[in-house]
Symmetry: C2
Subunit: 234 residues, 2 copies
DNA sequence: TACTTCTGCGATCGGCGTTCGCAGTATCTG
DNA sequence: CAGATACTGCGAACGCCGATCGCAGAAGTA
């Protein structure tokens, strides 16, 4: 029994026909994880919590997944399945990329816990690959080598996540901040009052009142368009 | 005893004169954490490990820091103290920002574990604030409101971290990958072989051989410059 | 001297990811 | 049909983690 475990979950067969029928499957597992993360954040996605929400026991999950990180891989790929590719293939490369960026933004806004995952290297599953292929396809006619295209896409995704982060930070102003964020805002307020760092103080003051100057959607489109144009020659 | 604990560590006094002299201080604590993280990654920064490396006991650390996250805040701010502001204030806003971006890149390359921290919202300490103030100062003459400037800086930082991530992923090709990354590369290789996702396959193939086309430094400068020019009007 | 306020820290708690081994069940083989 | 095989769920436990409590002792104050 070689028991070769160093294999991506996407290359491992889900079932091999023998034995009793499993109580659920990878996708149901991913669904439970996503529901938990959507409701209470990524930290709430515990093996025990997921098992409970499936009416199972913690140890059972390891029949479907080798580690918790693999469960999160499943979750990430599951939400990437939400991406729609309607209306693609008809425009200039920049318009194509903008459409794809909008879709990615939608996923991030619906599942903010993705921001906590994208830290290390983002996991790549089947649905993520479809998205990546579309992005690279949009750049096909440009005279860039593979490395440059990959970098371009990763920069684009970084841009999208940064913008989503900013938007979510704004949105959180209305609700109750998570208490550790209060401390940081308090510190920033203190610093603004001391008079050092005048540019920070000015920026914070200016940023407050202006709320509905432009819709976040328009802003997103404008920034992404400009950055891409500057980045990839025009 | 109100015991108000919801205060940023930067607003809490480090000492209040009474009692026996502490065995170390916040900065020594941060130093120990940084050394551990540099050597073995962020996950190795355990309260127990840090305490051991200080010749102390885990519970003692809580005399200096309220939580592990605060320890990491100290670490982040400590490495931000490495940033040099020499040669600033003499150029156009774009040149200024490029200098600042280069400094930030240097910090990230020297302390890759920062990539694991910047997930949530990046903590802001005194040294981070100095850096932020400089960035905003570089944008002072541009006709943007505070929110736009802040967004510009956060987008810039996202860009920098994305580029550093790409460079580190490259560098890791020569060494031994962390074993879970092997699985992902294996999966990518498999997918490239199946023929679906042709753009991904092509990009991966093209990316391999081209190594020393341009130095990473030049590439960094070029990409950041272009993105900034496109982003902030010109 | 008496009191206050800090210090280091042993002991411990609850929670986590993960492993082991067993009992039970479905399929395959002959 | 009978035996082997390969899976299933999962109770119990391990080791590690962040964090808390409370006490003994030291430094400063009055």
């Amino acid at each position: 029994m070689p028991e070769q475990p160093e294999l991506s979950i996407w290359l491992r067969p889900e079932r091999s026909g023998r034995g009793p029928a499993p109580g659920f499957d990878r996708d149901r597992l991913a669904q439970a994880g996503v529901e938990l993360a959507d409701a209470e954040g990524l930290a709430a996605v515990t093996m025990r919590a997921v098992a409970t929400s499936l009416g199972s026991a913690p140890a059972s999950l390891y029949r479907y997944v080798a580690t918790r990180d693999e469960l999160i891989e499943l979750m990430v790929d599951r939400v990437n399945a939400e991406i729609s590719y309607d209306g693609l293939g008809a425009g200039e490369w920049l318009d194509e990329l903008l459409l794809l960026a909008r879709q990615a933004r939608g996923v991030l806004l619906r599942h903010p816990w993705l921001l906590d995952v994208f830290n290390g290297t983002a996991p790549v599953g089947p649905h993520t690959l479809v998205f990546l292929d579309r992005c690279l396809g949009a750049l096909a006619d440009l005279s860039l080598d593979g490395r440059q295209k990959l970098e371009g896409v990763s920069v684009l995704m970084a841009l999208v996540t940064a913008l989503v982060r900013a938007q979510l930070a704004d949105r959180e102003g209305a609700e109750e901040p998570p208490l550790w964020r209060r401390a940081q805002q308090q510190y920033l307020a203190h610093v603004a009052a001391t008079g050092e760092h005048p540019h920070v103080a000015a920026a914070l003051l200016e940023a407050r009142p202006l709320k509905g100057s432009k819709s976040p959607d328009e802003l997103f489109d404008r920034i992404v368009t400009r950055a891409l144009r500057g980045l990839l020659g025009f």
